[in-house]
Amino acid sequence: MSQPADLELASVSKKYGDTIAVEAINLKIKAGTYCCLLGPSGCGKSSTLRMIAGHELVSDGDIVLGPRVVNDDPPAKRGTAMMFQSYALFPHLSVLDNVAFSLKMRGETKAVRHERARAMLETVDMEAYAERLPAQLSGGQQQRVALARALVTEPSILLLDEPLSALDPFLRIRMRAELKRLQRDLGISFIHVTHSQEEAMALADLVVVMNNGVIEQSGSPRDVFNAPRTKFVAQFIGGHNVVPVDGGEISIRSDRLKIVDPSEPSSPTSLAGTVTGIEYQGSTVLLTLVTEQAGDISVTLPERSFFESPMETGEKVSVAWASEDAHALA
């Protein structure tokens, strides 16, 4: 079976001419971790993944996989495998031959490679489609085949480049759960590039938020969500308000804000504003306020408490928070 391995990026940089895509990032990913590289497009997350995969040369720094520096190794020698965003299945080969491709390249006999490919197809529930061509499969099925093709090499790390972005929302949530289950079963690290904070929160043991080629913050989803380190992180992961205060900025989760009587005297832990939008979201209601001090503020209220004292747009209200819910931003 696959040998799980630790991965370490030591001051890894990627330059394209004068532009710096990734700037001296340091990151340790323990074996068996589900890691999400999260960030907006152009933040360097894909370059980072491609450097780990061996599809992009490292401009500076070292990539250490297990006991070895793998900077100059080709992907197959590193023990990484990549699942491509568009799946990149070979259109002229059947599902079975697609999965068996790497075994064929290694010179395995037809019987051996077909047997192992069938076993791998079984893991992803696709054995019934072995003889089909990729064009005869749906997006979700193609993805399973791509997954099987990557895993058949028994990699110590699986790299996934926006694996869910081509799927419809319903399928995305189902495949997400399956990815997580597969990762747990195999016990190897998955490194998953995404621009969806929701996806990262749902999947990751370790979230790495990137922006402008540097890591803004890394940690467990809960740590990152509860204590965003920078303004960028607070805004990107959503559900946070950034409020300027004396000596810097603080972030407060939108569900930790309370509506208070606007006639109360203002305090350092409250803001006065006007309701500009009300969005019903099922179990919660999202209120948008415009305030003089902090611009737009969003407040998430439980459905019940909103309808106990409903508000309307244009109404003047104040919001307040407990001082322990405010986090100073770097």
């Binding site: 020698k77 495998a81 259109p91 790497s102 390249m105 093709r149």
Partner: protein, 292 residues
């Protein structure tokens, strides 16, 4: 939207049909019909005779195991077709592969692809003839070889030989291989090459297992172009072979010159059938329609 009559597609296709009918189907039928006519030194008579065909194969059975003229000629023409096909395929594939997978910017790819087609601004005959001062007994190549002391007398086989015929064929026809191959290769998703690399395929393995199978239709279309051109050629073989090398096209040309039209027509029908069967065989191996 104006409701379309069910005749609309027919009259829309009519102009092209007319052009095809007048310039392709009618001459083809005429050739076929004339191939059954009678002729002598001074006249051609409508008739329904198979004599022209028997004349083509005259002595072919009796003379066995010695090959008769027509079989020898077909064999020689097929040999040229095979050699030229192999060379244009290797050269064309290499050039197309380089343009698609090694040139990084689209602008440069377009410029270089255009450069490949520029020789087409000159006529075939001119491009052929321009080899003569290069390859002749006192030509540039021989003078250079003598001057460098590589040979002590001029090489005879450079011009008016099988070599010069093949050289000219390859020079004139490689582009017919390049264009369909470019078309196929541009459609190959670059991430497939990366995926092959990711699964541990070497450059050669990627070529054999990914690029060549996905270029199959381009190879087939290019092959059809090259094979049909070489099979029917008489000018290149004439000029570059010093009028000494036989070819099927040459037979037809000579017979037309002697006004033996029915015999020439019979030969043309035979050639057509041969080439069509070769193409049919090719399309059996590769489904060309995918590319159209």
């Amino acid at each position: 939207m104006i409701a379309q009559s069910r005749w609309t597609p027919y009259w829309q296709a009519a102009p092209m049909t007319l052009v095809f009918a007048v310039f392709f189907i009618v001459p083809l039928i005429a050739t076929f019909v004339v191939s059954f006519w009678e002729y002598n030194q001074y006249s051609i008579q409508p008739a329904m005779t198979g004599e022209n065909y028997t004349e083509i194969f005259d002595g072919c059975i009796a003379g066995l195991p010695e090959l008769c003229t027509i079989f020898k000629t077909y064999l020689s023409t097929l040999k040229f077709a095979a050699i030229v096909w192999a060379l244009t395929l290797v050269i064309g594939f290499t050039i197309a592969y380089f343009l698609v997978f090694h040139i990084r910017t689209l602008t440069m790819q377009i410029i270089l692809a255009l450069v490949c087609t520029i020789p087409f601004l000159t006529s075939n005959v001119i491009r052929m003839i321009s080899w003569i001062p290069l390859l002749g007994r006192n030509g540039l190549v021989n003078q250079a070889l003598l001057g460098l002391g590589i040979t002590d007398q001029p090489l005879d086989w450079l011009l008016y030989s099988n070599f010069s015929v093949v050289l000219a064929f390859v020079h004139l026809n490689t582009v017919f291989m390049i264009i369909p191959l470019l078309n196929s290769m541009f459609r190959i998703d670059k991430s497939l090459i990366e995926a092959a690399y990711d699964t541990g395929a070497s450059g050669w393995q990627t070529l054999v297992n990914v690029v060549i199978p996905l270029s199959k239709t381009g190879i087939a279309i290019g092959s059809i172009f090259v094979i049909t051109i070489v099979m029917g050629d008489y000018i290149t073989i004439g000029v570059m072979g010093g009028q000494q090398i036989a070819s099927v096209g040459k037979i037809i040309q000579v017979q037309t010159n002697f006004l033996q039209f029915p015999l020439a027509a019979a030969n043309a029908v035979l050639l057509l059938v041969t080439v069509l069967s070769m193409i049919l065989l090719l399309t059996r191996i590769v489904d060309i329609r995918k590319e159209l």
